[in-house]
Subunit: 427 residues, 2 copies
C-alpha cells in the first residue's frame, strides 16, 4: 500500500464509523433548510431555502478553517490553501439544488462528503501540497429555470449571463431578478470562470440499481453517457373504429407500438451500457372509437461510447422507417438533442481502482447514464466521479436512500483520493 | 321478376337518372340549412339550424301530400295513409342531426331517400295497402348532449324524459330548456312511444370502405355489431431513463405496446367482422427521460356475433394479463360498456338479396360496425338497413362523399323494398 489516509490497516473500521456518523449529521442538517410539504426536499435555485442553505454552508466551511468565497453566480467555495500557491486546485463537491420534491442525497452528498473528507485530511495531515477546495455548486438540475449546469457551466465557461437574460420560472419571475434578490449576478463578486483547476472529483449517488444488484460499494465512473434525443411522428388514417376492417387500417399507434417493441429487442440484445427509452408518447385524436391517425413519440438513447451510440441511433432511424413503410404509414424522425459521451480521466480512474482494491472495498467500473457537473468540468480539467449505491435505484424522490455505511465508504475513498492528489508527490 | 317498381326492365336507367337528380337536390337543400364556418354541416339537436331544417322538411313532406306530425321530442313523420288503417306502419328514414363539422350524407341521406322513394311510389301507384311513413329522427349522434338515439330511443321506449332531466351541453344549456325553446318537450304533442310499427327500413352511408373495396353498390346489413369497450391500466416503475439498465426496467409502455401488437395479430387472424381498436392511450409521467411508470389505454372490440365477441374479449383479458405478468407489471382491466349485436330481420334481408339480384345491382351482406337508429327500432319491429358506399370510408367529416349514381341505387332498392312491404300481398 502506498500513501494512505490509513496509517494502519486496522484503522479502516474506526474511520468508517467516524465518517458514517458525521456524514449523516451533515446531510440531515442540510435537509432541514429546505423541507417541502410532502416529506421531500425542494431546494430550487435562488429561493430563500437555497440561500439559507448556501449561507449556512459558508459558515460551516469557515468554522472548519476553510477560506470561503461565493462567485458571482452563487457557487460557494471553501478553500484549504496548499503550499504550492501556483499549483492548480483540486476541487471536490457537487450541486446544492434539488428537483421539486427530491431526496436528501442527490447533490448534497457530494458536498457533504467533500467537506468531511477535507476536514479529516486537514486535521490529520495539515496543509496539503496543493490547494484543495470544496464546492457547493449553485445549480445543476434545471428544475426552476429551463437551463441546467448553471453552476459548473459558469465555472467552465459554458454558461454566461446572456443565456439566462430572458429566462423566467413558472411564476414568471426572471432568472436575473431571482439571482439579484439573493445578492448574486454580473459584477456582484468574483467572476465564475476558472482556469486554475487541476482536477474535479465528484461523489454522487448512483441514481440507478446497478451497484445494489452487483453488490458493489463503489462505482468508478468510466464515462458519462452520451445522449441523443429523437422525436418521431407516425401518421396513418384516423378511421372509424367500427366500420374499418382490420386489413384496411393504417393505425399509427399499432405502428408506433411495433417500433417500441423492436427498440426494446435491439437494446436488450446490445445490452449495457446502452439504454433506450420511449418516455413520451401522444396519440391523435386519442378517443376510444377512432383508429389513431397520428402518434408522436420520443426516443432517449444513451451510451458511453460515441460510435456505438451513433450507430444505434442510425439503426433506430432505419428500422422505424422500414416498420412505417411496411404499414403504409407516413414517418418522420429527427434528432433534436445530442450530447457526446464524456470520458472520465484515466489517471483518476486508475487511482480509484487501486484505492478501492487496497481498502478492500468492492468496486466496479460503470457508465453514468445520468448527466453530472463533471461533464462541465471535463472541459477545463481532469474529472473523476465515484458512485455509491441508491437503494432500489430510486432518485429524484423523497424515497431516495443510501445506507450510512455506504455513504461512509464513499467518503473514505474520496479522502484517500484527495490525499493522493493533494498531499502526494504526483498529481 | 315479381312485383316491381319497374314496369319494364328498360325503365331502370331512366329511374336511376330521375333519383340521381332528385336525391342531390334534396341533400343540397338540406345541407344549406346548417352550414358551418369550416365547410361542413353542423346541425346539433334543438339548435336554430336544426329547427329550421325540421320545419322546412315538414313543409316539403306536406307538399308531397304526406300527413305531417311532430311527436313531443321533435321526431318528424310524413305519413302516406294505407288502405288498411289497422295494419302496422312501414317506416323509413334516419336522423337529421349531425356531428360537429359533419358531412351532408350521414343521416340526411336516409331521410331524403325515404322522401324520394315514397313520393315516387305515391305518384306511380297511389295509395298503398299499408301505411308508409317517412321519419326524420330528431337525434342520433349524441353530439350536443351526452345521450345518443334520443329520437329512435323515444319511439322504442328506450329513452325517456327522466334520462335527460339533468343533461347540459358544453355551454351549460339544459336539454329541457333547449327542447322547450324549439317547442318540444313532455306534453307538447303526441307521445313519442309507438307500438304500431311493422317495419323500419334505414338507408345510410356505410362510413367504411368495404363496399368501395369490394366494388359492391349496396351493403345489406346482416347485423349491427355488438360493441364492448374495455379500459386497462398497466403499472411498472417510473425509473430514470439514463441510469436504469434495460434488464432492470419495468416499462409500462413497453408492456402496453406488446399488448397492442398481440391484439392486432389476433384480430387480423380472426378477421372480419371482428374489429379491435386501441384508440386512446395515455402515458405517465410522459416525459422523454423517464421510463413510463403507468399506461392507461382502451380497447374497442366489435363483432356481429355475441358469442364470438365475448370469447374475443376474454382472450384479450387473459392475454394482456399474461403479457403483464411476464414483464412483472401490475395490471388491471375492466369492461365499462357492452352492447349486444343486433341482427337485422331475416325476411327483410332476403327481400333485399332478391331485389338487388333482380335489379342487377351488386350487393353484399355485411356487418355494420357503427351503431344506427335501427338498433332501437329492432326492439319494437322488424328492422332492416342498407348501405351505399362511402368514398375512402370517410365519415363525420366535410369530406364525406357518395357519388349521386350510388345514392340513386340505394333509393331504387329502397323504393322496391317499400313497394313490396307496402303495396305487396305479403308483408
Amino acid at each position: 500500500m502506498g500513501l494512505s489516509v490509513l496509517s494502519h490497516p486496522q484503522d479502516k473500521e474506526q474511520l468508517l464509523t467516524y465518517f458514517e456518523t458525521h456524514i449523516m449529521h451533515i446531510l440531515n442538517w442540510l435537509a432541514a433548510f429546505s423541507p417541502d410539504e410532502n416529506g421531500g426536499i425542494t431546494r430550487l435555485l435562488y429561493t430563500e431555502g437555497w440561500l439559507n442553505t448556501q449561507q449556512a454552508l459558508a459558515v460551516k466551511m469557515a468554522s472548519h478553517g476553510l477560506e470561503t468565497e461565493f462567485d458571482e453566480v452563487g457557487n460557494l467555495f471553501g478553500k484549504l490553501q496548499g503550499e504550492d500557491r501556483h499549483a492548480p486546485s483540486i476541487i471536490t463537491g457537487s450541486h446544492i439544488d434539488t428537483v421539486v420534491q427530491g431526496g436528501k442525497y442527490d447533490g448534497a452528498y457530494g458536498i457533504a462528503a467533500g467537506l468531511l473528507a477535507v476536514n479529516y485530511l486537514q486535521q490529520q495531515f495539515g496543509k496539503p501540497k496543493r490547494t484543495i477546495e470544496v464546492v457547493s455548486l449553485c445549480e445543476e438540475e434545471g428544475s426552476r429555470f429551463p437551463i441546467a449546469y448553471w453552476g459548473s457551466g459558469s465555472i467552465a465557461g459554458k454558461r454566461d449571463f446572456e443565456q439566462i437574460a430572458r429566462l423566467r420560472d413558472m411564476d414568471e419571475v426572471s432568472f436575473t431578478d431571482a439571482m439579484r434578490e439573493c445578492g448574486f449576478g454580473e459584477g456582484s463578486g468574483r467572476s465564475s470562470r476558472r482556469q486554475d483547476i487541476g482536477a474535479f472529483i465528484e461523489v454522487h449517488i448512483e441514481q440507478g440499481a446497478v451497484l445494489e444488484t452487483e453488490k458493489a460499494a463503489i462505482g468508478i465512473v468510466d464515462a458519462i453517457a452520451g445522449q441523443r434525443r429523437m422525436k418521431f411522428e407516425v401518421t396513418g388514417e384516423p378511421n372509424h373504429a367500427g366500420t374499418t376492417p382490420m386489413h384496411m387500417r393504417r393505425d399509427a399507434l399499432e405502428g408506433a407500438s411495433a417500433m417500441i417493441q423492436e427498440l426494446r429487442r435491439e437494446a436488450m440484445k446490445q445490452g449495457a451500457p446502452l439504454v433506450a427509452t420511449v418516455g413520451q408518447l401522444n396519440v391523435q385524436p386519442n378517443v376510444p372509437n377512432v383508429v389513431p391517425g397520428k402518434v408522436m413519440f420520443t426516443v432517449d438513447a444513451r451510451h458511453g461510447d460515441e460510435e456505438a451510440l451513433g450507430s444505434f441511433c442510425e439503426w433506430v432511424m432505419n428500422t422505424f422507417k422500414r416498420l412505417a413503410e411496411e404499414r403504409d404509414l407516413a414517418f418522420s424522425g429527427m434528432e433534436w438533442f445530442s450530447e457526446r459521451p464524456v470520458p472520465m480521466d484515466a489517471g483518476i480512474k486508475r487511482h480509484m481502482d487501486e484505492i478501492t482494491e487496497e481498502l478492500g472495498i468492492a468496486s466496479m467500473r460503470m457508465v453514468s447514464g445520468a448527466g453530472h457537473d463533471a461533464v462541465m468540468f471535463e472541459h477545463i480539467c481532469k474529472a473523476g466521479m465515484l458512485f455509491v449505491p441508491s437503494r432500489g435505484g430510486i432518485s429524484h424522490s423523497p424515497l431516495e436512500y443510501t445506507a450510512p455505511s455506504e455513504l461512509a465508504a464513499g467518503v473514505l475513498v474520496l479522502a484517500e483520493l484527495l490525499y493522493r492528489l493533494g498531499y502526494g508527490e504526483e498529481r
